[in-house]
Symmetry: C2
Subunit: 508 residues, 2 copies
């Protein structure tokens, strides 16, 4: 969706949450706090030209309207919703208070939004191919927020487009259940930071909050609570629509064959019975890959998922598959022998994944998978755009080597290792996240092009409704700018000054 | 205040925030999660006897009343407030919903509160000498909270008293301003964890939010905002009263001579002008100790403070005094010579502190000071109960040595070093705080007796209204139990099981 705009930037610090100073007890150096020439712009646009011409908005009559030439307008609910939202951002209270009668400066009373793209995507879902260039309404207004009408503002011209097409945030609703309102609040924060993919790690070992129409017993048995701690089909719809209106894709993750303990509670024979010696130990391992019933289940389940989640991609997980239970099970051992896998259980994992991929392919979805899948040598379909490898392991040297390996084999890559924001440390740890760059590895230009972006991850061991949002923001904003702005935007002092004001805006 | 009670303990886990399991990405080992024989008791009482006799509360008619023999009752607002508060804890909603009509078990319809102490302290402020033994209403009800009337509960007998008389929490309202409601919320949480001292580090270098009647320009000039970011006299009154009703003392800290940058904005000539070479650099250092006007100011200021804050103690700070500015100032150099201090600036600090102590003594207050004051050899008044040394520096070995030194010189000591909760790390870092013990150092029994307790500290560099409470709790609960319960209560597995349920209760 393209909008051509000329507009203005608010260059004020907000006293209400002024930056704190630097007093001991710190593990990370604090950047120097100065004034950025870009004021509070976040993430920094690709091109900014400011002039000294100052004027102000007319708080009384100001409105956002469709330009005559616009290829889309009054009939576009997506646009009209955005207009209303941003109007509230700009005039949070001033209209009510009937302020801004006096006009000390030349006054702007109208913002014309001119959609030039043929497909305005008014009613569609955002996709990988969505043109986000010069997403000006979003961007412009975001940094206009504040009691704008009270202050003169400098005329500014901005052209903008994202550096990466995939700018994701992972939330984990299995280890702790996340109430709808927490998810919506974070989708809102994502929009403010130009994230465009909500990676919903919806189920895992501890609980299965996704309410399936086809297999209701999965959440009945597997959720922390069958009524209060589940996402109903309408909950999911609401979240997807809320995200759509903000240009955010919702990619669901249903991780198999590992991380599936909660699946087993509601689906008999789905998991592998572990053995101690000759008899079952009573505990269960990964999904049982040797039963046809397993694949019948997966086919029906992912058929449902593919219709519930409209996005073109599904995240299939595939990480941390523990072979010990498989090894302990005599039926599995027999199957390994029949298949001639010897004792190489990654061949068994490969066997499962390949059948799963065939199943998902029939739903015409692309898929994302964690790096272990190819680390374990699982053969994937021809390296099409349908396959995304999600890198999350190791230290800097190791993940850079992995990014090189993945792209060298022609796969598209997505980076998360440096952005595990659940890992906290004292002081300003946003800087480490800010400095990491997904294209910073040894590889050809062709390889670099295969890097579609990255994802910040907030795993749920230690976060729930009580602490998630303040723990995640503004730290995730650092990842937002890294994935949106030009790769040369890396001055932490300048970023610090802008981020502090951006945070105040989000707090307000 | 003594109440003799016989009552019952709730032994249920709360599904709503069930414990999460253990999934990777951790720096600290997680304790094993089992069921504690003490259910969700926190902090653990000194003596608990449970029976298997089960019955339930009558949600319809249950009430808390004064025992006939009670030395205090209907006229005691402190008590009546507590009754109302705890009634709401026990029946958060059930009464409204008119539930609990059916009685499956023998039913308790009355809790008699029997005050036996001569002085019920109904209208006084809590003090060091307050008798907290068997604070049963507080303790009992705290662990009764939950939809109690829905579940049968086991008869339990409890006798209780605190291990240490000083169980404090420090909040810093200078580095980030803390809205009243955040402070009240944390006073409530303190009560739930049996903290009895709110150490209010109210001003510091970054801002001066305390509105002084005598010197209004201090906050006018020194606060982040002269109206929105200050504590008015009535704000302070309200906080002190809210704390009083919960048995919490409010000890204010006005730290000098260092950490006073914000004081200088509103009080001319209070701070030492720093010099670069022969001329003033324009920046200022600690309080200027060589001017009589300084002491005139301090006398008037602390006279006000001593009336505004009723507690018997004032925290005078005295930490981290940077001598470099004093050294740079020719007038100070001259004064040093006149006094025969040579180049030993700790003598100058001593000179200031001693005059300050004389001033505060005239207000009949005792004082708390950070350890540097005696580390720098400042001579204090005879080692009376009026002096409390606050230990905060170094690693375990160092702070244990310091505790030994302080108590060996006959001073009372307060420990905070292991409880700087602003220092966060990934995983369950409450365990380190839980394992620390203020009496764990080489010293005689007499020395150990001089340890009055400790304080958890949450310095304000990185916390404000948006993240303070979830960052502080339940981590501070670990310190609460360490300071209240018997020294042999140190099983982290047992604590983990109780703490998880205690947290759920606080969340609800």
């Amino acid at each position: 969706m393209i909008a051509t705009l000329k507009f203005t930037a608010l260059l004020l610090a907000v006293v209400v949450c002024r930056a704190t100073q630097d007093y001991g007890y710190k593990d990370v150096e604090e950047p120097t706090l100065g004034d950025s020439q870009y004021g509070s712009l976040w993430p920094l646009p690709q091109k900014v030209q400011m002039s000294t011409v100052a004027f102000k908005l007319s708080g009384v009559s100001f409105q956002i309207v469709d330009a005559k030439e616009s290829s889309s307008g009054a009939s576009c609910s997506l646009l009209q919703n955005a207009y209303r939202r941003y109007d509230e951002y700009i005039f949070p209270i001033s209209r009510m208070q009937g302020q801004n009668k006096k006009k000390a400066f030349a006054s702007v009373s109208e913002l014309q939004v001119w959609i030039t793209s043929a497909d305005s995507e008014c009613d569609n879902y955002p996709s990988v191919t969505s043109d986000e260039s010069c997403e000006c309404p979003g961007m412009m207004f975001v940094f206009l927020v504040g009691a704008l009408s009270q202050v003169p503002i400098n005329r500014t011209e901005i052209q903008d487009f994202p550096r990466f097409t995939h700018r994701g945030l992972l939330l984990d609703s299995s280890r702790h259940f996340l109430p709808i309102k927490v998810i919506l609040a974070n989708l809102e924060a994502m929009a403010w930071n130009k994230f465009n993919v909500f990676h919903w790690h919806i189920v895992d070992d501890p609980s299965f909050p996704y309410m399936s129409r086809t297999f209701p017993q999965l959440s009945q048995q597997g959720a922390y609570h069958p009524y209060t701690h589940v996402y109903t089909p309408s909950d999911v719809k609401m979240i997807i629509e809320f995200a759509r209106l903000r240009g955010i894709r919702v990619v669901s993750e249903f991780d198999t064959p590992g991380h599936t303990q909660s699946w087993g509670k509601g689906q008999k024979d789905l998991l592998t019975p572990c053995y101690s010696g000759a008899s079952p130990s009573g505990s269960f391992g990964p999904v049982n890959p040797i039963l046809n019933t397993t694949y019948d289940f997966m086919a029906m389940f992912f058929k449902e998922v593919s219709t519930v989640f409209p996005d073109a991609y599904i995240h299939l997980g595939g990480d941390e598959v523990d072979f010990s239970c498989w090894k302990s099970n005599p039926d599995i051992q027999k199957f390994m022998a029949q298949q001639g896998f010897g004792t190489d259980y990654s061949k068994l994992e490969s066997f499962y994944i390949q059948r799963l991929l065939d199943i998902v392919t029939t739903t015409n979805k692309g898929y994302m998978i964690w790096q272990e899948v190819i680390d374990n040598g699982v053969k994937l379909k021809s390296n099409t755009a349908d396959t995304l490898i999600h890198v999350w392991k190791g230290n800097q040297q190791q993940y850079q080597a992995e990014m090189a390996r993945v792209t060298a084999s022609g796969y598209q890559a997505l980076l998360s290792t440096p952005w595990y924001l659940n890992r906290i440390s004292y002081g300003q740890d946003w800087q480490a996240a800010y400095k990491a760059d997904p294209q910073d590895f040894n590889g050809t230009d062709a390889q670099k092009k295969l890097v579609v972006g990255g994802e910040a991850c907030l795993w749920g061991e230690y976060v729930d409704a009580t602490n998630l949002t303040p723990r995640l923001w503004p730290r995730a904003s650092a990842v937002g700018e890294r994935l949106w702005s030009d790769k040369d935007v890396k001055d932490t002092n300048d970023a610090y000054s802008r981020l502090i004001q951006h945070r105040c805006r989000m707090v307000q």
